[in-house]
Amino acid sequence: MAEIYKLIHPLKYFTDYISREVRPDGRKFDEQRNIKLNVNSLKTAEASAVVKCGNTTVVCGIQLELATPKAEEPDLGYLVTNLELPALCSPKYRPGPPSDHAQVTNYLVSDIITNSKCINLKDLCIVPDKLAWVLYCDIVCLDNDGSLVDACIIALMASLKTLCLPSVTYDNDTEDIKVNADIRTPLKVHGLPVATSFAVYKLPDRNILLTDPSAYEEEMCGGIGANFIVCSNEGLLCGTQKFGGSNLLSDSQEESLKISRDRTNVVKKVIETSIKNDNEFVS
């Protein structure tokens, strides 16, 4: 019965739930979904992580390359993030070149990482003006069930935290590069940026803030890009975003900051235990 109701009166169905202070999947408004994290499950990548926030599944793999730094920034390395939203992750996507949404999300993730200053690009430089690391961080979404950015940041940060750079010696005379994979130093990661998405649902009398919305909830709340995303690193905000959708009230903003602070602690714990366990990867 419920399924049919949902199909015929989607809006009413959803509103019925919300007005009863519960979300269709049984969560409270400020309740987030379970996070499952697995690090180093891909052997071909230098560091990797698979994260599941509810059903949203994201894989991140980091691969290394060596390159010459840019002439204008001779002591900086490169950190390249790239997000893939292949057609397989959602029925909404079509095969073909990346959609606008994918590109926007991609920039958003890059910006968050850059603004959070969690990676000092100077750490990636080996010999100024000669040699620097390029970190290719490729994120692939396997199942998009909402709050994509949150999952991406978790996967990316977990990967970065497990990444160990091999030691490289560079001979100035011969321009000879020697990579010693046996001696590795962990990459310095400053803090832990965590993103938290909220969907804003407009009831006639008030706006409801839904933490960690699923794809269905996102759709009900204005569709693509309507999420309110808060991202902070060690208490410092490094990105808030809200494009379109329902309006946001200032008191709910405060509430959202509080929720995101709590969430940061949860994520931190998840990443730490996961790295500690570094157990076998079961998808």
């Binding site: 052997k43 071909t44 390359e65 590069i177 990579v179 046996d182």
Partner: protein, 977 residues
């Protein structure tokens, strides 16, 4: 059938490439022991005895041996002896051996495959209980040692389970690594050094002699005579930053304290002098060298130095005296050569060396010196208790190491070849030194042969073109039993468009591939041998005698299978059509060149054979003319035949080979057949046809030759083979009939080697055969004695649909590797043939002194290279520097009014110098033109004449004069004088 085993992933990192590999661990691997009652062995899978007999006094209980990598690498000669049985070879060890030395890996595989030896190879790396993971920071070597120990303890435990105590074999680990032994003992593994074990083995005499000498590490500087070699890392960095160079070390034949290394950067090879400069490099080794600054460069010494006959102990003599003459006195610029020193060995290219033992002067001593037959190899110190027996033998010795504190490299005795001077032993030396496979054919090979009384099956005849009724005959040198070609020619009806008569000419080649099927043991053996090697008194067959001299040989009057190439040719020798087919023939006659010539010349003979031969002869002459017109070169090389005593097989007389019309007749048709086949193959198999090419010689090769011909007043044009051929034809001196032949002999030496290649590896213009002046060529006509022809037969058969192709035949890569082997074996066979001629010449001259006419081939600083046309003999005629002055510019020697230059004719006296048993050599002395006080004067007994002078004396001091003791009658002088 499909089972999942415990699973592990191993990651390996290259540059920044991450490589992931799977590594499956299994529980279904067998231990191979009959004492085991756990593993589900099948009967034939038991390799190790349940109660192995102990041969070692140290361990008088039943045990299996387990070896570590270095034991296999260093003691392979011991392992090849039958003494040690019931040995467990771990995969860890095998892989390390394979990685470090493929030759030894092959040898250990042979041992493992020998069922009688009871060597069991255990795949410990994939066994769930014996695999060990490399710990972080652990060296690969340490990890492997740990894997070996782990396997040892596993075996001990495995065998003890379900066995009554004391009823099962123990495990003894053999390793020379002290540290490893220590840890093993702590872990409760019985272990022992190889030396201790072998020295306590009973019942195998001589086993100890084969023990490789202990290797003293390079870092040990106690009593060091030589500077330490650089470590591989140092060498690597040195080469990278351009401070060091790498190259193959070539020792000088004449001076044991000198050698060269060719390096790309320098035009001249780098000169290395003295013990320290050479620093233990042995001829052929790949070495790292350092080049001195230019002011320290020297010129190569022109003296001959041989190592002292007696053992000076571990001392390096004062070299300054020996090398003083090498210092640049006149500092003439172009003689100065870049000079350097060896600082490290990148790879040893040691093989086993033939030679003789020089027993120590102290009776009962076990350390002796060994002198290799190859002059460029230093003497070797070996230990043996059998010196009395071995002193008179030719022996084979392997090199083990050359520690810093030893003047000589250390080696060990491998086996005796036979008494010195014995024909068989000497032949064995020739074969071994030239790497000619000459062991008897194995059982597996012989099993591939048809029965002795094999006849052509009826259905095979039906499949083939029946040519038995056609009058076919073969023409070969006398005494030839492996006849691989036969010919026929007959007029056919009709005329060409130009009104010329037409003939059918057929070349019929023994169908060896009918018997030698691909990928059989017989085929593999033939491929490895690649060619039949002809020594003067022995033939080392490529295929067993039954085939080479009987079933394949196209003997007269017998039905044989053949592969035929049949042309229609007009009377001007233009080929009208060509066809190939397999056939059955019955040769009407197997003739020698001489018999065939007589048949042709005897005008009273009108039979079919004579008519056929005359047609062939006439056509051949036209073919040859055409070839010459195209620019083919007529080259010459001095070829001789020995007449051999029928009982002793010693040579009794030598004569130059006679060349008759019929030689050329057979040759022309063989060339034609080869070219026809080559064209067909290249068209059908552009990727994998086996062809033969002869690259044009680089112009630099001709410099000396042109200088010499100019002195004789001829200008030779070497720009193309056509012009070259033409100017050679024109260079004739009326009074000297041999001059032109001489010229051609010299011209031959300026040429490159012709080589086999696979058509896929080169582009079409490179197929050219310079000597024959034809765009494409191959070998088709001698499948009995050349493997190249066997491949060509198979390809051709596949072309014409008479046979199926098989995978390896069509693989370019494999064809290429076959070519490499063919070329190598052919070169070696050629050298072996020459060495055999030299050996027999020496035997011939043992009791002989002759005076013969000779020609100067080249002029050197202290000698003339002369050739005796009658014998095809070549050698140096040393000239003392106080009498003769050498003109470097124009290459001639002057002594007052006598000038000696290239191509001059001389009279020389020939004797054999046997003072050095290893290197017996012919000594040439000048008789005419007469140089007072130097030339040998034959008849006048009153005059003082020079005696045989050894090479050393000639070079270092003016010749000592002695009264001649031997009275020899000079022989008739040759006509040219």
């Amino acid at each position: 059938m499909w089972t999942t085993k415990t699973f592990l992933t191993k990651t390996k990192r290259g540059n920044i490439l991450k490589i992931v590999r799977e590594h499956y661990l299994r529980d279904d691997l067998l231990c191979g022991s009959s004492a085991c009652n756990i593993c589900p062995h099948k009967d034939e899978e038991y390799v190790l005895d349940s109660k192995p007999d102990s041969v070692c006094a140290l361990f008088d209980y039943p045990h299996y041996l387990l070896l570590d990598t270095n034991v296999v690498l260093h003691q392979i000669d011991v392992l090849e002896e039958d003494a040690l049985k019931n040995v467990i070879m771990l995969q860890t060890v095998l892989e390390e051996v394979k990685h470090q030395n493929t030759a030894i890996f092959q040898r250990i595989l042979e041992v493992i495959n020998n069922k009688k030896r009871k060597f069991y190879s255990f795949v410990n790396e994939h066994h769930k209980d014996t695999y060990v993971e490399r710990n972080p920071g652990e060296k690969q070597n340490d990890r492997n040692d740990r894997a070996i120990r782990k396997a040892a303890s596993w075996y001990a435990l495995h065998l003890s389970v379900n066995n009554v105590a004391g009823q099962f074999p123990q495990i003894v680990l053999l390793t020379d690594d002290e540290n490893n032994r220590k840890i093993a003992q702590e872990e409760g593994i019985v272990c022992c050094s190889v030396k201790d074990y072998i020295e306590n083995v009973n019942g195998f005499v001589g086993l100890i002699d084969k023990l490789s000498k202990n290797v003293i590490p390079e870092t040990c500087s106690k009593d060091a005579l030589y500077p330490a070699h650089f470590t591989p890392t140092q060498i690597h960095t040195g080469i990278r930053n351009g401070k060091l160079y790498q190259g193959t070390f070539h020792a000088s034949r004449d001076n044991f304290l000198e050698g060269t290394v060719s390096v790309n950067r320098f035009e001249k090879p780098i000169l290395l002098q003295g013990h320290i400069g050479i620093n233990r490099a042995v001829d052929g080794d790949l070495v790292a060298i350092e080049v001195f600054p230019e002011e320290e460069w020297r010129k190569p010494s022109d003296i001959v130095l041989e190592d002292k006959a007696d053992d000076p102990g571990d001392l390096l003599e004062e070299e300054s005296a020996l090398l003083s003459s090498a210092k640049p006195l006149d500092s003439s610029k172009d003689e100065i050569t870049p000079t350097g020193k060896v600082v490290g060995i990148i790879r040893r290219k040691w093989r086993q060396y033939c030679g003789i033992l020089m027993p120590s002067k102290f009776p009962g001593a076990t350390r002796h010196l060994f002198t290799p037959a190859e002059k460029r190899i230093p003497r070797v110190r070996i230990e043996t208790r059998q010196s009395d027996v071995l002193a008179s033998q030719r022996i084979l010795v392997a090199l083990d190491s050359w520690p810093r504190n030893s003047r000589y490299p250390l080696g060990h005795f491998v086996r005796a070849l036979g008494p010195i001077g014995d024909k068989d032993a000497e032949n064995e030396v020739i074969l071994l030194e030239h790497d000619v496979p000459h062991a008897r054919f194995s059982e597996a090979v012989l099993a591939c042969l048809p029965p002795n009384d094999w006849t052509i099956p009826e259905e095979e005849i039906k499949k083939r073109v029946d040519l038995r009724s056609i009058c076919i005959c073969s023409v070969d040198p006398p005494g030839c039993t492996d006849i691989d070609d036969a010919l026929h020619a007959r007029p056919i009806d009709g005329v060409t468009a130009d009104g010329l008569k037409k003939y059918e000419v057929g070349v019929h080649i023994a169908d060896v591939t009918y018997f030698v099927r691909p990928n059989t043991a017989l085929d593999k053996e033939a491929a490895s041998r690649s060619t039949t090697v002809y020594l003067v008194d022995r033939r080392i067959d490529m295929v067993p005698d039954l085939l080479s001299s009987n079933l394949c040989s196209l003997r007269g009057g017998e039905e044989r299978l053949a592969f035929s190439c049949v042309w229609e040719i007009d009377e001007n020798a233009n080929v009208l059509s060509t066809k190939f087919h397999k056939s059955v023939i019955k040769s009407a006659a197997a003739m020698t060149y001489e018999e065939a010539q007589i048949t042709i010349d005897n005008s009273s003979r009108k039979d079919e054979i004579a008519r056929s031969l005359r047609t062939l002869n006439a056509l051949a002459k036209k073919l040859k003319q055409k070839r010459l017109d195209n620019g083919a070169l007529l080259l010459a090389s001095p070829e001789i035949r020995f007449q051999v005593d029928s009982e002793t097989h010693d040579p009794v007389e030598v004569q130059a080979k006679k060349i008759m019309d019929t030689n050329s007749m057979v040759e022309e048709f063989m060339l034609l057949a080869n070219v026809s086949v080559a064209e067909k193959l290249a068209e059908e198999f552009p990727q994998c046809a086996l062809l033969r090419r002869h690259p044009s010689p680089p112009p630099a090769n001709f410099t000396t030759f042109l200088k010499a011909t100019r002195q004789q007043g001829f200008e030779i044009d070497v720009s193309t083979n056509k012009s070259f051929s033409k100017s050679l034809d024109e260079a004739v001196l009326p009074g000297r009939p041999f001059f032109n032949t001489m010229l051609r002999i010299m011209a031959t030496r300026c040429m490159q080697q012709a080589v086999y290649f696979s058509s896929g590896t080169l582009s079409h213009p490179d197929y050219y055969h310079y000597g024959l002046a034809c765009p494409i060529y191959t070998h088709f006509t001698s499948p009995i004695r050349r493997y190249a022809d066997v491949i060509v037969h198979r390809l051709l058969a596949a072309c014409i649909g008479e046979d199926v192709t098989h995978a390896s035949l069509l693989d370019t890569k494999q064809a290429d590797s076959i070519c490499d082997n063919l070329n190598y074996r052919h070169r070696q066979a050629q050298y072996a043939g020459r060495a055999s001629v030299a050996l027999n010449t020496h035997i011939l001259f043992k009791n002989r002194i002759e005076i013969e006419s000779a020609v100067v081939l080249s002029v050197k600083r202290n000698a003339l290279q002369v050739l005796i046309p009658k014998y095809g003999l070549e050698g140096p005629l040393y000239l003392p520097s106080d009498k003769f002055t050498y003109n470097e510019e124009e290459h001639y020697q002057i002594c007052s009014d006598v000038t000696l230059k290239t191509f001059d004719e001389l009279t020389v006296r020939l004797t054999l110098d046997s003072t050095n048993l290893q290197h017996r050599k012919l000594v040439f002395q000048l008789v005419k033109p007469h140089v007072p006080g130097f030339s040998y004067v034959p008849e006048d007994s009153g005059m003082e004449v020079e005696s045989v002078a050894s090479a050393e004396e000639v070079k270092e001091t003016p010749i000592k004069k002695r009264k001649e003791t031997k009275q020899s009658k000079p022989k008739k002088k040759s006509k040219n004088q």
